[in-house]
């Protein structure tokens, strides 16, 4: 008579619709890519049309936007920021540097592939990606959310040991709080 599965399916559709159209980003803007965010958010390209909005703190955010290269020192802060965010949370790797190191591929002090340290949902390539590319990356993320495929946070929990091992390999002075989530 009352189909529980169908009901939860409808709830999921509503949830995913709301999540898809309300992406609050916390932009980790230490790389050069941060310069592309102001034009994306302001009147020329206006990302607020898609419900994309900056958020003030990691607690309120949904999307962690890694704009460009990460040095080993900043990686530690990024990991802590990511772990403070509340689920469901997504990571967007922005620019070539997060994919293969980009122009910093032989640097002694930056990480090469972000995916070894944090679960990335969408990559936006380019050096720099223009605002059009940024918005198309966000729309790709919206599609993934609508299909329920943006499961980076789940992957992170399942493979936590593997991620931790990689993180500890590059971060020499590992003094991080132990979380119990």
């Amino acid at each position: 008579m009352y189909n529980d599965k169908e009901a939860s399916k409808i709830v999921d559709i509503i949830k995913n619709f709301a999540r898809k159209h309300s992406l609050w980003i916390v932009a980790y803007g230490t790389g050069c890519g941060a310069i592309e965010l102001p034009p994306t958010m302001t009147s020329r390209y206006d990302a607020e049309r898609f419900g994309i909005r900056g958020s003030a703190t990691p607690r309120q955010a949904d999307v962690l936007l890694i704009t460009g290269y990460l040095s080993v020192k900043t990686l530690k802060r990024v990991i802590r920021t990511y772990e403070q965010m509340q689920e469901p949370k997504y990571v967007i790797g922005f620019g070539s540097c997060t994919i293969n190191g980009g122009m910093y591929w032989d640097s002694y002090n930056t990480i090469k592939a972000l995916d070894r340290y944090l679960p990335v949902d969408v990559y936006i390539n380019g050096c720099m990606p223009r605002p059009e590319a940024v918005i198309s990356g966000f729309i790709k993320l919206q599609e993934l959310i609508a299909q329920g495929k943006a499961d980076g946070a789940k992957r992170y929990q399942e493979n936590l040991e593997w991620y931790r091992e990689n993180q500890r390999k590059v971060i020499k002075n590992w003094r991080m709080p132990e979380y119990n989530w």
Partner: protein, 302 residues
């Protein structure tokens, strides 16, 4: 005991209507802000989507008991404020619990939400929250004084502390209190700018400066509760001001028109103004609005 069904209906429907109207006004604000900044802007129901998303967040954090109770206090204060304001004039369903002395009661209960939020934010231990709370409570002291002055002037003038009596006085539009006691209106509307928290009085939640202030450690469902509370409280304040100064409303269309015009005053001011520091805003509230409040009382007494 006889069950008063119309009151029960009012209890159920007033917060729902307040939430829907408040959320739509919030979305409208974002669209208007975007158009002023030469952008297209989000859809009008964007705030509703944000709130649904925040409620559907899965993980939550724990900093202690008051952190859980802070947003609950805020929403309690909002709904209680709403219950003591007659939403529709002479309606059996939407007059709610207005009673003799409710103006004085409202003065107290409207502050309760901010105090609850202050307690909740204090428990999280975030320094930005503490700064935001101290700024917010200072500003509260600033705008409460002219607001109380305006209300006292009206209480003396009409010898009543009941909102329904005030509504009965304003039976024709020439008798609206905005025309009968313009200085009280000036003082109250300037205090209203501070109450709504838009620029230039948005130093409390300044997002780029102190990371959104009191709610900086709140995410997910707590933030959802706060946004819900804020929507309901916005509507409650607008209806209160409509009842006191604009003669109330006898149907929903009039109510929406009057509240929307009132709501546009802080919104449009907020779009064009930069931000005051705390001491600047207190200095502002204790100069012109307070002056208008004193003038209003003097005009009534002499």
């Amino acid at each position: 005991m006889e069950i008063n069904w119309s009151t029960i209906l009012g209890i159920i429907f007033t917060p729902i209507i307040a939430f829907i109207v408040g959320v739509t006004y919030g979305g409208l604000t974002r669209v208007i802000t975007a158009r002023v900044q030469n952008r297209y802007g989000p859809p009008i129901f964007q705030n509703l989507l944000d709130i649904i998303k925040l409620y559907s967040k899965e993980s939550n954090i724990n900093h202690g008991v008051m952190q859980h109770l802070g947003p609950v206090f805020a929403i309690t204060a909002s709904v209680t404020t709403l219950f003591f304001v007659p939403v529709i004039k002479d309606s059996t369903v939407f007059t709610n619990f207005s009673f003799h002395g409710d103006l004085i009661f409202l003065l107290y209960i409207m502050v309760f939400g901010s105090l609850g939020m202050a307690l909740g934010a204090g428990q999280t231990g975030n320094p930005n929250s503490a700064i935001g709370v101290s700024r917010g409570l200072s500003q509260l002291v600033g705008y409460e004084v002219p607001f109380v002055m305006a209300l006292v002037a009206i209480m003396i003038q009409f010898q009543t502390t009941n909102l329904n009596d005030l509504l009965a006085v304003q039976d024709h539009f020439t008798k609206w209190i905005i025309f009968q006691s313009p200085f009280a209106f000036l003082a109250a509307i300037l205090a209203f700018l501070g109450m709504m928290g838009y620029a230039p009085f948005d130093v409390v939640i300044a997002p780029a400066e102190i990371a959104s202030g009191p709610p900086s450690e709140f995410g997910g469902k707590y933030l959802g509760l706060m946004l819900t509370s804020r929507s309901i409280f916005t509507f409650a304040k607008l209806v209160l001001f409509t009842d006191i100064f604009l003669g109330g409303a006898s149907d929903f269309i009039t109510l929406l028109i009057k509240t929307f015009i009132l709501y546009m005053i802080p919104v449009l001011t907020g779009i064009v103004f930069p931000r005051y520091r705390t001491e600047q805003s207190i200095r502002f509230f204790w100069s012109w609005p307070l002056f208008f409040g004193i003038i209003a009382i003097l005009v009534v007494v002499f």
